[in-house]
């Protein structure tokens, strides 16, 4: 992405402007799901493989951390909560089969929520 030390100027119709920015950001965030869903699915498979697990978890933690930061602000509270839950599960992950199972379940839920948002945005 291009570096952007840019200056954004004051707009007269600010409420309209902020609503438009929120809408545009939400649209871009949800559009990106069409790339993120296959990536998360691939990560979910890699997590089952012990040799690949560590890197896959790191990447998944990064993605869910970003979701957690922005989703609720864009009125996608469920996605934000689910992503935050996954991030926490990864932070406390001790490689037990039970944890792996609950992590997989939450990833499935997140993927469902993302697909719903994508369909709704169409």
């Amino acid at each position: 992405m291009a570096p952007m030390p840019n200056r954004k100027k004051h707009c007269p119709d600010l409420e309209y402007q902020i609503a438009r920015t929120l809408q545009r950001t939400k649209q871009r965030f949800v559009d990106d799901f069409s790339y993120k869903i296959p990536e998360i699915e691939a990560l979910q498979i890699l997590i089952q493989n012990e040799a690949e697990r560590s890197n896959a978890l790191r990447r998944l933690a990064f993605i869910t951390h970003q979701f957690g930061g922005i989703a609720a602000t864009l009125s996608l509270q469920d996605i934000g909560d689910c992503a935050a839950e996954i991030e926490q599960l990864i932070a406390g992950f001790n490689q037990t089969p039970m944890q792996l199972c609950s992590l997989s379940e939450r990833i499935e839920t997140l993927l469902d929520l993302m697909e719903d948002a994508l369909v709704e945005a169409l």
Partner: protein, 329 residues
């Protein structure tokens, strides 16, 4: 005056642009990495009045960036607000210890953001109008003994910043830190106050620089005495320090006083060459966040009040002691 917003997520930068514009902030510069932000700071093209830093970013993270910004003399006091999804205490502690002024968590709450930014801007404006106070702190920090009295003078009740002592943060930062903690788990911490006994006398007998050295030594002794507990310490003025402790930690105040006294002797403060004044530190009873009042200000006030009471008790006891001894004799 320009704001700098740093976040690796383009969506967050777009949102911040819209939110800050809606709040009337026109001069805002954006960076997508710690490295890019640091280059902008070092370039000196903009005069930044507040920084917003994300924590988790690839490459240089926000906590590291915060420390690097603080290292530049120009931004030693410029407000730095962390804006992050990291809610755990370890990240909150790390950010404040590297010099953060405030800590906000995502998702972005526009009302809270406006309020905290307003406070940060007020702080920055105040710093600009009281440059003599900034110069005074710099003179104190660097121990410039050749400076005149007026260039180093401060009042006893001034909460002067103590620099270069681990786990010691400013009094405003301490309030913000407590505010952040109280948002997470409301009653998770307690506080204990350390008070220099006969502080007025000590203050009047020493030069500002000498008194500041005493304050720094006492801060260091408090840190050394509590170092195994990972506490946060702040000098709150009036010869008083407040340390924030885990709620469940039980400390023996008499033992702490003894250890502090030993540490201060070790530093050569008491009967030593640097400041030949007998400084004693009283440890007040520890207090906890109350479910009826979890405000940072109330916690600090209750802790300092406990130390005041104990100090007053000690003073009256020491006044009575010679009489009772002579009565016995």
């Amino acid at each position: 005056m320009t704001l700098l917003v740093v976040d690796d997520d383009r969506n967050i930068l777009d949102l911040m642009a819209a939110i800050l514009a809606s709040q009337g902030h026109e001069d805002v510069v954006y960076a997508q990495s710690g490295e890019e932000a640091l280059a902008l700071v070092n370039q000196g093209q903009y005069k930044f009045s507040t920084f917003f830093l994300d924590i988790q970013m690839p490459g240089m993270d926000g906590v590291e960036l915060c420390g690097r910004i603080r290292a530049s003399a120009e931004h030693r006091r410029t407000p730095i607000i962390m804006l992050t999804s990291m809610r755990d205490k370890a990240h909150v502690d790390a950010a404040f210890l590297r010099g953060a002024t405030d800590y906000l968590t995502k998702p972005i709450d526009t009302t809270e953001l406006a309020a905290r930014l307003h406070v940060a801007q007020l702080l920055f404006d105040e710093q600009q109008t009281s440059l003599s106070a900034i110069r005074r702190e710099e003179n104190l920090r660097l121990g410039m003994s050749y400076k005149s009295y007026s260039e180093t003078h401060f009042d006893l009740n001034d909460a002067v910043s103590i620099y270069d002592v681990p786990r010691v943060i400013g009094s405003l930062e301490m309030e913000n830190y407590l505010h952040r903690l109280s948002r997470g788990k409301r009653f998770m911490c307690g506080a204990i106050c350390f008070q220099i006994q006969k502080r007025e006398r000590l203050f009047s007998m020493t030069s500002p620089l000498e008194f500041y050295e005493i304050l720094t030594d006492v801060a260091e002794a408090i840190f050394e005495t509590l170092r195994s507990y990972n506490v946060m310490i702040s000098y709150v003025g009036n010869g008083q320090y407040v340390a924030i402790l885990p709620r469940t930690l039980q400390l023996n105040e008499e033992e702490l006083e003894l250890n502090l006294s030993l540490k201060l002797r070790e530093f050569g403060l008491i009967d030593g060459d640097t400041v030949p004044v007998d400084a004693t530190v009283i440890v007040g009873e520890s207090v906890r966040m109350s479910m009826f009042d979890a405000s940072p200000h109330a916690l600090i006030a209750r802790a300092t009040a406990k130390a005041e009471v104990k100090c007053a008790e000690r003073s009256s006891m020491s006044r009575l002691l010679p009489k009772s001894m002579s009565a016995r004799g």
